[in-house]
């Protein structure tokens, strides 16, 4: 897919991947051999009708392709950009065995963008069912659950703690990977379906799940509050000035538009030499954002080797092209500050890979005496996030696991009847599409629950 030139894009926040032209899309779609038993669909957490929409693209029926696509996916323009297709649908593509798999993600993006450019037509909702459902959290899980329920005819209200919808799509994923205008359009589609969005409501302190069900008449509640609490390393010096969580750094930049300070009121601070700890997608996003904000040297510091880096291959490649350096098999043990409390260096150990651990990956082992110091004035910690406890700890009787995640079954049922959950709050930090899959399954379970209860009441 055509991309912005790395030297140019290092200095702007415009989208990196430019998307297919119609000709490119039709040509790529024509490569699909339309398997009788499409493996690609099995690889998709929301079971998008992949061969059907690709067939329509090959026939230049882009409107038809959009209908097929949206039958299973409420947020295709987003998924086409941020799904890890290489480990999902595209990994299963038969063509991938001998050569390149069909670029399913890029085709999905093409169709969604094409439809948006036409001015998307509203999806029809079923007749009103006369029951209301509350969805907590306007991230990928909550928005998908809300869309499915609205289509089924429920009156859905989404309660969101921030001042805008989208969750990680807005605060976490940078503009150059997912333009916020696209998220806004997807949310406008939700509103067209009749979904009501209430911002600035923190479930727990502002309103409890019990109140929603017992006082406000919601027949069911879906908790999609995500994994928003940043982890830190627990090493000396990590509260020094100049040490940020990736969440803080990305939220300042993306949600609060810190890259346009002082026109926008929220500043974002960066030194000349930036270390990003971790090698997942969030770490790549933080590193590439730091490059765009003008840092001279940006280094990913990761304790395993390049084979174990959890980020998508495409993101790592884009980061490398943009000049991000990689210090692998390295882990900090201390952050050193100057007399004003600012970061000035990072003490690290070198690692080698030992036997495989519980995750199946070879375990990084510190090399004794390998200590060295890297000069540094900014450290961004991107080593994962934990579940947000505000909603869960205020909900009596809700079963949690040791890590504080909600215990829920495949369909999202929790220990409380009528309370469902899905996405990162259940699984721990994962991908947008997995959260969407969970939101969708929960919507079906909520429908079944409400329908069964209504039938019970009628008897």
């Amino acid at each position: 897919m055509p991309c912005q030139d790395p030297q140019v894009r290092r200095a702007n926040f415009d989208e990196v991947a430019l998307g297919y032209t119609e000709e490119q899309a039709v040509k790529e779609a024509a490569r699909c051999i339309q398997c009788k038993k499409p493996k690609c669909r099995e690889g998709c957490p929301v079971e998008v009708l992949i061969p059907d929409f690709i067939k329509a693209v090959a026939e230049r029926d882009f409107a038809g392709a959009a209908v097929k696509l949206k039958e299973k996916n409420a947020l295709p323009a987003i998924c086409g950009r941020v799904c890890p297709q290489e480990s999902q649908c595209e990994e299963k593509c038969i063509l991938g065995i001998k050569s390149e798999p069909v670029a399913i993600g890029r085709l999905e993006r093409f169709v969604a963008d094409w439809e948006m450019a036409q001015g998307a037509s509203a999806t029809e909702a079923a007749p009103a069912k006369g029951a209301k459902v509350a969805v907590i959290g306007a991230g990928p899980a909550g928005l998908t659950c809300a869309a499915e329920l609205a289509k089924l005819g429920y009156a859905v209200t989404v309660f969101e703690a921030l001042h805008t919808a989208g969750g990680v799509l807005m605060y976490g994923i940078p503009e150059f990977r997912l333009p916020k205008a696209i998220v806004d359009k997807e949310i406008a589609n939700l509103r067209q379906l009749g979904v009501e969005l209430q911002f600035n409501v923190v479930i727990g302190p502002s309103m409890t799940v019990e109140e929603l069900m017992n006082e406000q008449g919601y027949a069911a509640v879906f908790l999609g509050t995500g994994a928003g609490l940043p982890n830190f390393m627990g090493i000396p010096g990590e509260n020094l000035c100049g040490v940020f969580s990736a969440n803080e750094f990305l939220t300042r930049t993306n949600l609060m538009k810190g890259f346009r300070f002082p026109e926008y009121g929220t500043p974002v601070k960066l030194g000349r030499k930036v270390a990003v700890l971790g090698a997942g997608n969030v770490a790549m996003d933080a590193a590439r954002t730091a490059v765009r904000l003008g840092a001279e040297e940006v280094t990913i510091v990761y304790r395993r080797s390049d084979k174990e880096m959890p980020a998508r291959a495409e993101e790592i490649e884009h980061a490398r092209e943009e000049g991000v350096q990689f210090k692998l098999l390295t882990n900090p043990v201390e952050i050193i500050g100057d007399e004003n409390g600012w970061v000035k260096a990072m003490k690290c150990l070198r690692y080698e890979l030992g036997e495989p651990d519980a995750s199946g990956r070879r375990k990084p082992v510190a090399i004794p005496g390998s200590e060295f110091v890297m000069d540094m004035d900014t450290v961004i910690v991107a080593i994962g996030t934990g579940p947000n406890p505000l909603a869960t700890k205020s909900t009596a009787g809700l079963e949690l696991n040791r890590r504080g995640n909600i215990v829920a079954d495949e369909e999202g049922r929790t220990s409380i009847p009528g309370v469902f959950a899905g996405g990162d709050i259940v699984t721990g930090a994962a991908t947008v599409i997995l959260a969407m899959g969970a939101g969708k399954k929960a919507a079906q379970a909520i429908d079944a629950y409400i329908t069964a209860k209504a039938a019970e009441a009628a008897n």
Binding site: H163, G242, S245, F261, P267, K269, G341, P389
Partner: protein, 284 residues
């Protein structure tokens, strides 16, 4: 939108708003805070809930105009509205009945958040002694309101322009000398003041609670900007606090962390002033 139903100018730089925010007013408790954003381009500004009226659905906020964000906020008038208000956030103060006097100390704009705590302590049946202080008379406010919820009120000014001349720490020391059964101290104000109070009460062995006001963004535990080192452990002021044991807080670090965006704040103020000059420089 969240309308400003009343505005009061407490001093040249300190303003009061009553904001219509029924959801926050319904649940607000002493010690909690909320976050507001004045407009689309504005920062998320955390402010303590200085008072609330559940029936009217209003909350009271008092703020000092320091940076560009609070300066812009201060320019709003009754009848205007702010774009976002979210809360109540943070853990409420632990209010209980003590077997001896409790002292609440409010310094500068810290008088605002100490008020609901004093009131709650009084309602719980305590003997409440309030010490409020400011640099000068001009910066003092809510003397009557504080008096109404206190058994005794001591007012101090640094320059002696009103009340007792001297720091709130001196007044606290004197009170302790005469009342060794002092049970607990709450102190809210600028960080150096809270540190001074904590240092004063440490040798007395009186449990002292301070309310930290670090840099903050979302207020729900997500950004981690509000990290405070308490007893060697990292805490998030937004969800673990904002109140902490003043004897365990690492104030040196907290004060340094307040300076992270000092240069940027200066830039924002300069840009604001430049803008207000009407672009006479011709660059607009």
């Amino acid at each position: 939108m969240y309308p400003i139903v009343r505005k009061e100018i407490l001093s040249a730089s300190v303003k009061l708003f009553d904001l219509k925010a029924p959801l926050v007013a319904a649940k607000a408790k002493a010690g909690q805070f909320f976050i507001l954003r004045s407009d689309e381009k504005g920062e998320r500004i955390p402010l303590t809930i200085a008072d609330f009226d559940r029936e009217q659905g209003t909350i009271t906020a008092i703020f000092q105009e320091i940076g560009a964000g609070t300066r812009l906020l201060g320019q709003l008038e009754a009848g205007d509205a702010v774009l976002d208000v979210v809360g109540p956030l943070g853990v409420p103060s632990e209010i209980e009945r003590f077997d001896g006097p409790v002292v609440v100390v409010g310094g500068g704009v810290g008088i605002a958040p100490i008020y609901p705590i004093a009131r709650a302590l009084k309602e719980a049946g305590n003997r409440v002694v309030s010490i409020i202080g400011a640099r000068n008379k001009e910066l003092l406010f809510w003397e009557e309101k504080m008096a109404a919820v206190s058994d005794e009120l001591i007012v101090c000014t640094d320059d002696g322009s009103y009340g007792r001349k001297g720091f709130v720490t001196d007044a606290l020391k004197d009170f302790y000398e005469a009342n060794k059964d002092l049970q607990r101290v709450w102190a809210i104000g600028p960080m150096p003041m809270m540190r001074a109070i904590a240092n004063t009460t440490r040798p007395m062995g009186v449990h002292t609670i301070v309310s930290m006001n670090p840099l903050m963004m979302d207020g729900t535990g997500m950004c981690g900007a509000c990290r405070v080192l308490v007893g060697g452990e990292t805490k998030f002021a937004c969800v673990d606090g904002p109140e902490f044991d003043g004897h365990l807080v690492d104030f040196d670090l907290a004060l340094k962390r307040l300076t992270i965006y000092r240069d940027e704040e200066k830039r924002a103020l300069a840009a604001l002033e430049h803008h207000h000059e009407g672009g006479r420089c011709g660059c607009h």
